[in-house]
Symmetry: C2
Subunit: 419 residues, 2 copies
C-alpha cells in the first residue's frame, strides 16, 4: 500500500493529506506545532481563499465557515494620486478570509479524524532522507527553515533578490465594513498598498489591514513600529497613515473604537518571492516533491499564496491517486500540470510588485470605466493564470482591451503627460 | 481579427483548421497537393483512428465513416515463439481505419465549405517568414521536406538515429476478417511484426497488411520487393512469409483471391522516429508552432501517429481560441498541455520498437491470462500517455500488475530459462 509523508501542516499539506485520506491512502503529516500551539500563537497571515480554493474545501468536506456568511463578494479599489480612481469589481462567487489559527487546527483535527497520522516533531532537513525511507513519496510542504533550499531556486522565474515590500499586518476593531462587503485595495503610488480585508478571527468578524510598504517610502516605518512598546502610539500612527495615504479605508474608521484586536494579532516582516524547482532526488534515489511555500513563495499583496498552495496540493494529490509510481516521470507530470497556474500566480504577483507599466495603468483606468473588465480582473483573483495571460505583455493587454472595446493606445495617448 | 496560417493538410492541419472554423477564426491551409491529386496517388499510410480521435471528428462534424459500420472493436494478438500466445483485447468503443486518400480530400472539402481557405502551392522552408507575415500565427503541420528541421530535434526524447523497422504496407483482397472484427497484432520474435487491419478504401472493405520488418531479419526483404516488377512474385512471397511467420493472419487468407487491391495501394520505406522542439521564433519575431509530423514522428507500429497529431492540433486549437497572443508564453502553454500525451505516445512507441524487456514480457503473458489487463492495454491505444505510465519502468509495470492481482517477479521466475 502506498504511503505518503508530508512535511508541513499548512494549507497545502492539509489539503493534500485530506484529499488522499478521502481515498484511503495512508498519510503522515509532520509538523512542529500542535493545533493548540498554533491557535495560541501569533497571527500567521491574512490570506484570502478564493472560489476555486473554497470549492476544494467543499469537496474535502472542510468548508466550515460558509463563505455566504463569513466571506466577501467584491473588491473596492482606491487608487490615489492627482486623479484618484475609485471603482468596484464583483466576484461571481464569494471569497473568504479566515484566521489560520482557527483554520489550520480545525483541518488538522479533520485530518486525524479521518485516519491521517499527525506527527508533531521538529523535522530538520537532515531528517528528510530518514523520513523518505518510511514512505513511498515525501512531499515537502513547508518552506520553513532550510527545507525549501533542497529545491533549487529558478532564477528565470525569481526576478527579485530582496523583498519588494516591508509588511505589517494586524487585525483591527473599529472599521465599518465596506458595502457591499469586500476587500478594499488601496494604492498610494510610490509608497505602497494597504489591503483591507474582512477577516474572521478569535474576536469574530474583524478587519485585517495588510500594509505593503515600499522600502524607502513614507510608510516603511510601519514595518518597524513596535506595538508592544507603545500600543497607543502604534494605533495612532496607523490611523494617521491611513488618513494620509488610504482615504478609501480611513473614511470607514471609527477612531473611538479603532484598536488592534489582541497583542498577538500583529505580524511584521518581509519576504523575497521566489519559485523553486518542483522536485529533487534524495540520497536513496527516491524523489521529494515541493508544494506550497517550499515551491513558490509569493508576496501577499494580491492574496494568492494559499490559492497557489491549495491548487498545487490538489494537482499533486490527483496525480498520486492515478499514477503507478513516484519516479521522475511522475514528478515531471506534476510539474507540468500545475505550472500554468502556479507560475501564472507567481509571475502575476511579481508583476504587481513592480512600478506599474503603461499597459497596467491602461487596464486600471479601463477597469474604472468598464464594469465587465473590472469584474473579470476581480474574478481572476481565483485564476492567476488567466490574470497573467492578460498582463504578461503590453500586446496581450492591448488585445484583451480591444476585445472589450477599449483602444489601449488611444487611452494612453489621452493621459495628462502623454506625448 | 486573428488569422492563422497552417502549412500542411494532413490530419493535424485539417483538424486544427476545422476546429478554428467552428469558431469563425480565419484560417488558411497551405498544401502542395489538391484533394484530387491525393486521391489519385499512392497509399499514404495505414493509420488507425482511435476513440478519442473519432470523438474529435464527431465534434467537428466530420465523422463521415461511422465507426459502428466501418470500424473495428478489438485487437487479436498472436505472439509467435516456442509457446505462442493468442489472446484478444476489446475496445470500449470502436477504432477505425479509413484510407487517407478518401479521408483527407473529404475533410479538405469540409474545410473549404466552412469558409477555410485552401492554398495549393508548394511551400519551401524559405517561404515561411513570408507566410508568417500574413498571419498572427504560423503552424507547421507538415514534416515534409525541410520544414521539420526548423524545430530542433530533442535528443533526450529521440533514442534512435536510424529506422528500427523497414516497412512494407499494402491493401489486400482475400483475407477473411477476424471475428469479432479487429486488428490482428502478430509478432515474429526477432523478425518483426505484421499489423493486419480492417481498412476502408477505394475498393471498399479491404485488409491492410503493415509489415514492420526488423533490419537483418528474415522479413526485411519485403521492404525491397517490387510489386511493379513482378506482381505475382510479390503476392506469393508475401503469402509464404505470412505462412511462416504470422499464422494468426495466414489462417484466414484465401490463396485463390489473395491479391493487392491496386498497384498504387502499396507503400514501402522506413523512418527514424524523433521528437522535435514545440516552437521556434521566425526572423520577424513571430513564433511558428509545430504539430503532427513536424513535431513528432512515430513509427507506425502501434498506430499512434494520427492520434498524436489530432490531439496535438486540438490542444493547440483550444489554446488559440482562449489566449490573447501568440508569443512565447502561448507556445510554452501549448507545449506543456500536450506534452503528456504527445510524449507519452512517442515514448511508448519507441519502447515497442526495442527488444522486449522482461517487464513487457510479463505484461504480455498477463494479458493472455487476465482479460481486464488485456482490455486496458487495448483501450490505452487511445491513451498513449496511460500506456506509457504503465510501461515506462519495471517498477511501474510491477505496481500495475500487482494492482491487478499478478506478482510480476513470481511470473518472470516461473518462465522457462529463468534462473
Amino acid at each position: 500500500m502506498t504511503s505518503i509523508g508530508i512535511v508541513g501542516a499548512g494549507v497545502s499539506g492539509l489539503h493534500l493529506g485530506l484529499l488522499l485520506r478521502q481515498h484511503d491512502v495512508p498519510v503522515t503529516i509532520y509538523t512542529d506545532k500542535t493545533g493548540d500551539e498554533l491557535a495560541a500563537g501569533r497571527l500567521l497571515n491574512s490570506v484570502a481563499h478564493h472560489h476555486p480554493t473554497l470549492e476544494r474545501e467543499r469537496q474535502l468536506g472542510v468548508h466550515h465557515w460558509d463563505a455566504a456568511e463569513y466571506g466577501y463578494v467584491c473588491h473596492h479599489h482606491y487608487i490615489g494620486g492627482p486623479m484618484p480612481l475609485v471603482f468596484r469589481g464583483d466576484f461571481a462567487s464569494p471569497s473568504s478570509g479566515i484566521d489560520y489559527r482557527l483554520y489550520l487546527p480545525r483541518l488538522m483535527g479533520d485530518f486525524e479524524d479521518r485516519g491521517g497520522r499527525l506527527a508533531v516533531q521538529a523535522v530538520q532537513t537532515d531528517d528528510l532522507d530518514r523520513l523518505a525511507a518510511q514512505h513511498d513519496l515525501l512531499v515537502v510542504a513547508s518552506g520553513r527553515g532550510t527545507h525549501g533550499a533542497l529545491f533549487g531556486r529558478r532564477a528565470e522565474k525569481s526576478p527579485y533578490d530582496k523583498p519588494q515590500r516591508r509588511l505589517s499586518v494586524a487585525l483591527w476593531h473599529g472599521i465599518v465594513p465596506s458595502e457591499p462587503k469586500g476587500v478594499t485595495l488601496n494604492i498610494s503610488p510610490g509608497h505602497g498598498e494597504v489591503v483591507e480585508m474582512p477577516f474572521y478571527s478569535f474576536d469574530g468578524h474583524v478587519t485585517a489591514l495588510l500594509f505593503e510598504n515600499i522600502p524607502g517610502g513614507d510608510l516603511e516605518m510601519l514595518a518597524d513600529l513596535r506595538y508592544d512598546e507603545d500600543p497607543q502610539a502604534f494605533e495612532q500612527t496607523v490611523l494617521a497613515k491611513l488618513k494620509e495615504h488610504y482615504p478609501g479605508t480611513y473614511e470607514r474608521v471609527d477612531p473611538s473604537t479603532f484598536a488592534v484586536t489582541r497583542p498577538q494579532d500583529i505580524l511584521q516582516g518581509a519576504l523575497t518571492p521566489h519559485l523553486r524547482a518542483d522536485y529533487t532526488q534524495l540520497s536513496d534515489g527516491k524523489y521529494a516533491l515541493a508544494v506550497g511555500d517550499a515551491h513558490s513563495v509569493v508576496d501577499p499583496l494580491v492574496g494568492q499564496g494559499a490559492n497557489s498552495a491549495s491548487y498545487s496540493a490538489w494537482t499533486l494529490g490527483e496525480a498520486i491517486l492515478e499514477d503507478l509510481g513516484f519516479d521522475e516521470l511522475f514528478c515531471q507530470r506534476v510539474a507540468r500540470r500545475r505550472a500554468e497556474v502556479v507560475e501564472g500566480i507567481s509571475d502575476w504577483t511579481n508583476f504587481m510588485l513592480a512600478p506599474p507599466p503603461p499597459h497596467f495603468v491602461a487596464l486600471l483606468i479601463s477597469m474604472a470605466q468598464h464594469q465587465p473588465i473590472c469584474d473579470e480582473f476581480t474574478r481572476n483573483f481565483g485564476h492567476g493564470d488567466r490574470q497573467w495571460a492578460m498582463l504578461a505583455t503590453p500586446d496581450r493587454t492591448r488585445t484583451y482591451l480591444a476585445r472589450n472595446g477599449v483602444d489601449m493606445d488611444a487611452l494612453l495617448a489621452s493621459l495628462p503627460g502623454a506625448t
